[in-house]
Amino acid sequence: DARVTQTPRHKVTEMGQEVTMRCQPILGHNTVFWYRQTMMQGLELLAYFRNRAPLDDSGMPKDRFSAEMPDATLATLKIQPSEPRDSAVYFCASGLRTGGVEKLFFGSGTQLSVL
């Protein structure tokens, strides 16, 4: 079965370090989303791309977060410098348009802990 692949699954780092999370969307999907999930806030949309072009990154703290799609098979989310409040599970999802709306397929997430 086709699936969204995220790496790493777990990341523990110290405050101030750079963190890079990677996502391989499902082949043929042309929309990629980055979400962050915490107990307090639930699933928050950070950024999304369509045909590799960034459409909206208003959910991201611009001074420390950046999202890119260097090619159709790779999306990255970077945090520099990381802070303890960034600790969360980060999900990547790729979208398949059916009936005019986007059905999302999620990866298993990257569990980030910033000490």
Binding site: V4, R50, F91, E102, G107
Partner: protein, 111 residues
């Protein structure tokens, strides 16, 4: 501002005890409402898409319904394997691709 509110936050049921989860939404032009299931340690998994008021979708013990202001996920005779967090999400109608999620309902089904 677009909002999605789910209730209850948590629901504990005995096996076979039917119930409903609620999702109320406020969006400028609903293009689609989604239900997802999330198991611990995993990403959300798609269940249903509803497009317009009056629409219903079914899958095994689950049935999703939609009105102009809310959606219900009905669970009939649940089993322990139905235990999960159920997430509701809406696709905004502004012509974009932004899918906004509710906080979810954690369902526990006891044998």
């Amino acid at each position: 501002e677009d909002q999605v509110t789910q209730s209850p936050e948590a629901l504990r049921l005995q096996e076979g005890e039917s119930s409903s989860l609620n999702c109320s939404y406020t969006v400028s032009g609903l293009r689609g409402l989604f239900w997802y299931r999330q198991d611990p340690g995993k990403g959300p998994e798609f269940l249903f898409t509803l497009y317009s008021a009056g629409e219903e979708k079914e899958k095994e013990r689950l049935k999703a319904t939609l009105t102009k202001k809310e959606s219900f996920l009905h669970i009939t005779a649940p089993k322990p394997e139905d235990s999960a967090t159920y997430l509701c999400a809406v696709l905004e109608g502004a012509g974009g691709f932004k899918t906004i999620f509710g906080a979810g309902t954690r369902l526990f089904v006891k044998a």
